[in-house]
Amino acid sequence: MKKTFFAIVVIVLFSSHTMFLKLDSYFLEPNSSVALQLFNGTFEKSENIIARNRMLDASILSNGIRTKVSDSQWTEKDSITILNFQTEDAGTYVAGVSTKARDFKMNAKVFNEYLEHEGLYDMLEWRRQNNALDSNAIEKYSKHVKTIFQVGAIKTNDWQTELGYPIEFVPLENPYNLHTGDSLELKLLLNGKPLANQLVYADYKNPKNSHSHNALKAAEEHGHSHDGEVNSHTHESKESEESHTHTSGQKLRTNEEGIIKTHLFADGIWYFQTIHIVNTQKEELTHESNWSTLTFEVTHTHGEETHTHEHQHETNNSIYIFLLGSLLLIGVLFLWFNRRKNENKN
């Protein structure tokens, strides 16, 4: 019995993968190389790579020009799919990836657990009220993710451009005009129209603490399959289970205009996620869902350490000051000791 329960929990925990576009730093320099990471799993850990033929769209929007990403720009590392590209002129950039729809078949119990786990409480409630908790499900799902990052110091308006994905977040102001402590409004669009009364989860991660890797844990990895991709995952610890709670952070609900307002109370990479799921009468399906995430970084003041470009220049200048200061100090000390030696001789 315990084994069965555990198996169900494991299936539920690992059967749903949220997708995110992530950067090590969201403040980049113009004309620099960038490795944009596509995570499929949790915000903390990617569980599997995404095959190129699964992507309906992958594009970068900057200075009013939308550039399609070519297959050759993608590489893979472990379970992370990496988009390599060069930034160009300064501006606020947007990158997006949209995937093809797939079907996922679940028995009733697993489906209920999955709804609970993903925070899809509206659908779970609907099933309760309509005595549908015992119904198995075949869900058609697709994922559409965006990230907004700042290149150089010039702010441009691409952050407000819709990529035309089935579901997408569009901020109502440039996140890079904001600082920690400010509030931001985001509009959620479904097929280009505001999506009202939709649950959205907002959370953040301080980039300083975002790396985690443990060889021992890695050694205990086991494999499983999902999304038709071969992948592996570690789930031996409480930490691991916690990292699979896809619904941490602020729980928000869009208003009638499809808008949520969130308080960006901490420095870090902010990520917003939502899953819009509906019942469907389409052939061989019971449900249809569209998943969306958006990421960007917020800092307390501009020009400090998260501002890589400015910080780098400051650091380079400081290196020279330090080296020159060191040489000067050694020189002064040398002259002083040399003089003392000569005085002692005399």
């Binding site: 090590d24 490795a35 472990d78 790396h211 060889a215 400051e314 650091t315 060191s326 020189g331 000390l333």
Partner: protein
């Protein structure tokens, strides 16, 4: 006003000792190199870290000053290498890491220690004999290795070829150490023949004390202020 002035002084100090940021910070360009370059990239980043990791080099310069002859240098450098390899490999593999600032503060103290010892500080001021240098170099080697490990763990290494990546980084560290030591040994050896060597010896070791203290305070400031 006084608080503001103090803050200005601290910020100036912060600016005067920033090399640690360049030498030790996890730069996105290094991360990118590691993402795309395979095991060779770990060798490269390891070597780069050692060459630009001036606190390791300052300590080694201090050790070399004290030694006589190539054999002695080889013996002490080997012990330092064994020491830092143990903690670099072990701590990284086991996922043990320290606070960046605290470990770097201890490494800074090792620089101060070596300058103080070289100037005969133990005998002159503490009226005790200097601790066994070989043992101290081994202990400091372990500490420096832990610092290197903490830095390596700041990178997103992934899980594939995990041990091979650590070993590659360690190989890079050793290569970088050799490259950096060549000019240091050359300058010290060359100066030994000059009349001004005593003044040079004292100046460098006094600098090690000042730099070690400065770096220690800088790291402490960073730790307390979350930089």
């Amino acid at each position: 006003m006084k608080i503001k002035t103090k803050r200005k002084i601290l910020n100036t100090l912060f600016l005067l000792f920033p090399l640690i940021l360049a030498a030790h910070g996890v730069s996105s360009s290094d991360q990118e190199i590691l993402n795309n370059g395979g095991l060779l990239s770990y060798i490269y980043v390891g070597a780069k870290h050692m060459i630009t990791g001036y606190d390791h080099l300052l300590f080694l310069a201090g050790v070399i000053f004290y030694l006589k002859g190539f054999k002695d240098i080889l013996r002490f450098i080997t012990v330092f290498t064994i020491g830092h390899s143990i903690t670099l490999l072990g701590a990284t593999y086991l996922g043990i890491k320290a606070n960046d600032h605290l470990i770097d503060a201890i490494i800074a103290l090792s620089v101060l220690y070596k300058g103080f010892e070289n100037l005969g500080g133990f005998e002159k001021y503490l009226k005790i004999k200097s601790p066994n240098l070989l043992l101290m170099v081994f202990i400091f080697g372990l500490i420096h290795g832990f610092g290197l490990s903490t830095r390596l763990q700041s990178f997103d290494m992934g899980t594939a070829q995990f041990l091979a990546k650590i070993v590659s980084f360690n190989i890079g560290v050793e290569l970088g150490q050799i490259l950096a030591l060549i000019p240091i040994v050359f300058i010290i050896t060359l100066w030994k023949t000059k009349k001004s060597y005593t003044a040079f010896y004292k100046a460098i070791n006094m600098y090690l004390i000042i730099a070690g203290l400065g770096l220690f305070l800088y790291q402490l400031y960073g730790f307390l202020n979350g930089h």
